[in-house]
């Protein structure tokens, strides 16, 4: 086969996927192990680390009461703010539009460890104690650009004549927006909301600074557990996160061209 890619390219590509996926596969495998040490392959299968996870008040609280709740709120607020911003950027022409767009996407580019430190020091100056609320504040800032990207892509790909047709048939602009534009944007909105959730759910760099000592998010709790007393219920918690994130990505991949966002 003249001209085809040589076989070693495939070997390299598979090696890259092994590198990428090895830590995730190992975490999932360990979570089903039966012994207290990390053995791979596991010596016998069991669900005891999942039982240990659900029996640990700190793990349950950080997973269900902190990370999940903050993720959902982040998704809600970021979707509203991001959709408004995207409409403003796509459908209006005003001076400085390009600069504002760059500004709005800047949280994607500012390293999160720096943003976390900066917001922490700022809150300290305002004497505003850290809590789940301050973590939510940080997560909204970093998650909204993902929504802006999704909705912008959706709006750009949409024929503006559909809206104009609705208005020429007697709909007001608000009616046309809610009855025509919004339903057409559905998959962009869902994708944006899902990404906002994932960004919040996986974040650790902001959470280390902003979560507040009494309400660590799941990644922060995992971080402190790894440092102090690594037991495989960390693996169970991590495996749950991997499955949730993987499932959500699978869902949005059916709706949207992911490459426009990441």
């Amino acid at each position: 086969m003249r001209g085809g890619a040589p076989r070693f390219l495939w070997v390299l590509a598979i090696a890259v996927y092994v590198l990428l996926l090895a830590p995730l596969v190992v975490v999932i495998a360990v979570s089903f192990g039966a012994t207290a040490t990390f053995d791979f392959p596991p010596k016998g299968l069991s669900l005891r680390w999942y039982q240990a996870f659900f029996a640990s008040p700190m793990f349950v609280r950080s997973f269900f009461r902190v990370s999940q709740v903050i993720g959902l709120w982040t998704a809600l607020v970021a979707t509203i703010a991001g959709t408004l911003a995207a409409i403003g950027l796509v459908r209006f022409r005003f001076p400085g539009r390009q600069a504002i767009e760059t500004f709005f996407l800047s949280p994607l580019l500012v390293p999160h460890i720096l943003l976390g430190a900066a917001v922490y020091l700022y809150l300290a100056r305002l004497a505003w104690p850290t809590s789940s609320l301050t973590l939510l504040v940080g997560h909204i800032a970093i998650a909204t650009p993902y929504v802006i990207r999704c909705v912008t892509a959706g709006l750009v790909g949409m024929d503006p004549r559909l809206e104009e047709a609705a208005m020429s048939l007697g709909a007001s602009r608000v009616q046309a927006f809610f009855r025509v534009t919004l339903p057409l944007l559905r998959s962009s909105l869902v994708t944006g909301a899902v990404f906002a959730f994932i960004i919040s759910f996986s974040d650790i760099n902001l959470a280390l600074f902003l979560a507040g000592a009494n309400a660590p998010s799941l990644p922060v709790h995992i971080f402190s557990q790894i440092q102090f007393e690594a037991d495989p219920s960390i693996a169970a918690a991590s495996a749950l996160q991997i499955v949730i994130v993987g499932g959500l990505i699978l869902l949005v991949q059916r709706l949207f061209r992911l490459r426009l966002i990441v």
Partner: protein
């Protein structure tokens, strides 16, 4: 709606997030810039005033070493990602859409899972009682090998973490190169590797540049990976900032580090934007 809205109604749409970012992004960094010239006091943390000491301190051996190590490791990680990422991006760009869908899924899931979980996986693999050492012992090795807390471990962890940032822009760039160019080069007698070096690499250069800048900036500001896989031996700037803020309470010191790193990153981001803009312009010029 274009052009028909009242002259200021755009502000209603752009305003909320704009104000939000002003309050929770711009002001915090302005505060950091201010803190970075305050005096450090062990008892009061920060004392208002003006001093350049927090910046001149960064030229001391400890900080210079820290910065140099961070830059050196980030450059190595960028090179590793480029070398390993190119073949993958090329193959994906020339694959059927079904394979691309699967390939992207397997790239994006590791990217989106929390860093701390990926690092935990590496700790299980590389730790003193980890999988590699268990395997070595099965093969008859008497003593374990120290894999964790080495530069190699940090490079491995950071490369795994930032590989998708390299592959995705490269993939986008290579997809735009028409396969007929490859055929033409090969019909004119180029071997596959000559074709790759003379056609694919030059034409996908914007993707390589933006991928490299992304990987470099992710590595430069890494915290979790060096903290858990490098420990005290392989410290990077991210750890220093974290500790000066949360455990040492040297806020002016942390502020100066933050400003230096942020300015460095902003410069790089400016470069990235310029390359992606140029790419977008080239693309829109196409029929």
């Amino acid at each position: 709606m274009e052009g028909t809205g009242r002259s200021s109604s755009w502000a209603l749409f752009v305003g909320p997030y704009g104000v939000y970012l002003l309050v929770f992004l711009v002001l915090p960094f302005a505060n950091v810039a201010l803190l970075s010239v305050y005096h450090h006091s062990p008892t009061k943390i920060a004392v208002a005033g003006f001093t350049a000491a927090n910046y001149t301190r960064l030229f001391e051996l400890y900080y210079a070493t820290l910065f140099l190590r961070t830059v050196r490791l980030s450059l190595i990680v960028t090179a590793v990602c480029a070398i390993l990422g190119y073949p993958l991006a090329y193959l994906l760009a020339r694959s059927t859409s079904r394979i691309v869908t699967l390939g992207l899924f397997l790239l994006i899931v590791p990217l989106m899972v929390s860093t701390v979980i990926r690092v935990f996986g590496w700790v299980v693999i590389l730790g003193s009682e980890g999988l590699v050492n268990q395997a070595l012992r099965l093969l008859g090795a008497e003593e374990g090998v120290r894999l964790l807390y080495t530069e190699g471990a940090v490079i491995l962890g950071l490369a795994q973490q930032s590989m998708p940032f390299m592959v995705l822009p490269l993939l986008a760039a290579i997809e735009r190169i028409s396969p007929s160019l490859e055929e033409a080069a090969q019909n004119l007698g180029a071997s596959w590797s000559q074709m790759f070096a003379r056609v694919i690499v030059p034409l996908s250069m914007p993707g390589l540049v933006s991928g490299s800048l992304l990987v470099f900036s992710v590595s430069m500001s890494a915290f979790i990976t060096p903290a858990l896989m490098g420990g005290r031996r392989v410290r990077m700037v991210g750890q220093q900032i974290y500790e000066e803020v949360l455990t040492a309470y040297d806020w002016p010191g942390a502020a100066s580090l933050t400003i230096v790193l942020a300015v460095l990153m902003l410069g790089l981001v400016g470069l990235t934007l310029r390359t992606t803009r140029r790419r977008a312009r080239l693309e829109s010029a196409r029929p």
